[in-house]
Symmetry: C2
Subunit: 398 residues, 2 copies
């Protein structure tokens, strides 16, 4: 008999509870599992012994939780060092935990790795399994990560709607999208295109150096062509020295607006780019939105594919840790058009590493994605993306 402990870390997603519930329900199905605990607020809850007992929570309630965005157990931004990981281990040992699941991104997988090594070193039989999640889609080995598909669907839905708005009232529109180092989520704006001429017309990801002059020339060209221009930029765009544009543009007295490097939860970059375009191109109607926290939490905008996979990844983690008695990181692999399978990958291959967009997903000019990216991303945003249709009607002679 053993106890299972599960926790959620890092930025929440719309489907992170699917993974938690998938792991809990699967864990409860094993006769060798005595108790299923949840730690509140990630690793902080483990070291503080702040646990809830999920063993007998009705499955119907867990199903409601699974469909609710963000981390029901609470999350944390703590990045445990070796000492902190030792305290995690000590708490697990004290509570007779034999299987530890941590749902999170690359930082969380590094925590799992250190705790697993500590247990190994001490000869304590603790299986440690990392369950992937991140809207940034930046975990190594994985074809994609739970949470990304739903966030991508939000970005695509937002752009598809604003595209119609911008067709009705023309101008330049710039949206700032999450993703400090990886451009996948920004790139997902391309999935909004359903009709010829639909925006976004330009996409800038952090995998390419952001060139202010090129950006302005690109917008001018699109505005000349379409009478409007819709632009998706990643919050992490930076110059050739790696300095984020939000800092670089703030350094210019003309755009001296905010003066901090916090990228999320501020509209600074969007406002700076608006000022830049207005000032340099003399276009009158220039607007920006920063999609912000809505991207990772909006109620009612989940990809059904993402939900199912997040659930299955959790269940697969339970099998891995409890039945197969393995530690590792669960990874998603695409094995057909479209099908996936789940594998156990060595934590060393995932922990504290970042996957970037491959070159063949970004166009030559560095201002858009390729069709290969669109094909890659399309199944991830779900099977029932709403349509956006442009009116086709004959002109009347004046």
């Amino acid at each position: 008999m053993g106890k299972v402990l599960i926790a959620q870390g890092g930025g929440p997603t719309v489907v992170i509870n699917q993974s938690m519930v998938g792991a809990v329900l699967a864990a409860r199905s094993y006769s060798q599992v005595d108790k299923v605990y949840g730690a509140l607020h990630g690793v902080d809850g483990i070291v503080n012994e702040n646990f809830v007992d999920l063993t007998d929570v009705p499955a119907s309630h867990l199903e409601d939780i699974a469909a609710t965005p963000a981390s029901a157990l609470g999350s944390t931004r703590s990045k445990p060092d070796a000492d902190f990981c030792e305290r995690i281990f000590a708490s697990c040992e004290k509570h007779d935990i034999t299987t530890f699941f941590y749902v999170g991104g690359n930082d969380s997988s590094d925590t799992v790795r250190i705790v697993a090594e500590e247990a190994e070193r001490r000869g304590y039989p603790l299986r440690c399994v990392h369950i992937p999640k991140t809207i940034d889609n930046d975990l190594m080995v994985n074809d994609h990560t739970p949470g990304f598909g739903s966030a991508a669907r939000f970005v695509a839905s937002a752009f598809a709607g604003v595209n119609q708005d911008n067709r009705a009232l023309k101008g330049v529109y710039i949206a700032v999208i999450m993703g400090r180092h990886a451009g996948f989520l920004t790139a997902a704006a391309a999935l909004a295109r359903q009709n010829p001429g639909d925006g976004p017309h330009l996409i800038y990801v952090p995998e390419r150096v952001f060139d202010r002059a090129k950006f302005l020339a690109d917008i001018k060209a699109m505005h000349d062509k379409h009478g409007r221009a819709m632009v998706a930029v990643s919050e992490g765009i930076h110059d050739e020295t790696g300095t984020p544009m939000v800092v670089q543009l703030a350094g210019n007295a003309e755009y001296d607006a905010h003066g901090n490097v916090q990228l999320s939860g501020t509209g600074a970059l969007g406002d700076q780019l608006v000022q830049l375009v207005k000032g340099e191109l003399g276009i009158k109607r220039v607007r920006s939105d920063t999609f912000g926290y809505l991207q990772r939490s909006f109620l009612g905008c989940a990809s059904d594919t993402d939900q199912k996979e997040a659930r299955e990844v959790g269940a697969f983690a339970a099998k891995t840790g409890i039945e197969d008695q393995l530690s590792g990181s669960i990874t998603i692999h695409r094995v057909g058009e479209y099908a996936v399978e789940y594998r156990v990958t060595d934590l060393l291959e995932i922990a504290a590493k970042t996957k970037h967009m491959p070159d063949h997903f970004i166009n030559e000019e560095g201002n858009d994605v390729t069709e290969a990216f669109v094909e890659y991303c399309r199944p991830l945003i779900g099977t029932d993306m709403p349509r956006s249709v442009n009116l086709q009607a004959p002109r009347v002679d004046a």
Copy 2:
């Protein structure tokens, strides 16, 4: 036999095409209607004789358009003066238009009023019908306006999701919501509350003077109580002199960020309020989002109630102008819990006027809405609002 002309004006909504399609399909069903024209980009399209012929566009295509956000015929921000209205009238006369439908807000209804008076004065038989739309919900006489319910659903869905995100990673969260003079849409954030303690914990509308010191004290109290605080503010909040806070806060050198009075399409106000809270209360994690254009255009977040009513308002306008041979503004009236009926109201009662939130919708302290507002708003956001559920599980003894 006569020709019908329809146009769409002002800021788009998610259901403005429902009204257009409702009017077009109903108009086509009358034997006395010869042609149904659409003007491109509102009144600009009328004076430029920029028309499309909607008479034979397949109904199935129109149904796709109805389900697509924003103004399929294009919109305009032009506010016609008397001279411009005369040109509108002249274009209608030239093209033998006998019924003119204009879907828009209070400015658009004023245009309809002037054109109707011009036709009357000249003895030309032109029926002019204003079809209401605005996410601001600020048209006189109407219980509510098409477009508001879907935008309110967006705001409620966003807050319900971010509420869970903020429970997982605690801090102060401030969302800036559209509505320069009327606070209905900001107030709709209250519909996000599904569980005890759910945010928003504070709501500030432009119907009340915004007091910086009170705002800070309110946030401190909520943060002390909940360990977090979620705040909804209207973009139009202003001090006792009527100066918008985005201007007032920018006047302070410390927050000198933007320096313009444009309220939408900028993250300035949110960023200023974040700096204010951080600086004055010393709370570390303070974030803001500006919901921006997504509120009025997001693909896939329409209220079914709003969609139906927007469609019916369009059809009722066709009956009013074509069958009943009347000019006027179509208005929505609540006649049960929950049912509505449509009436024809004198354009003078609607044109260029703004409805504000009534006192009984705002709490005594001016920092929240009342239960009366929640009851008023609930049916408008649709019948199938997704649930947001908080985990209930027993604590484990440490």
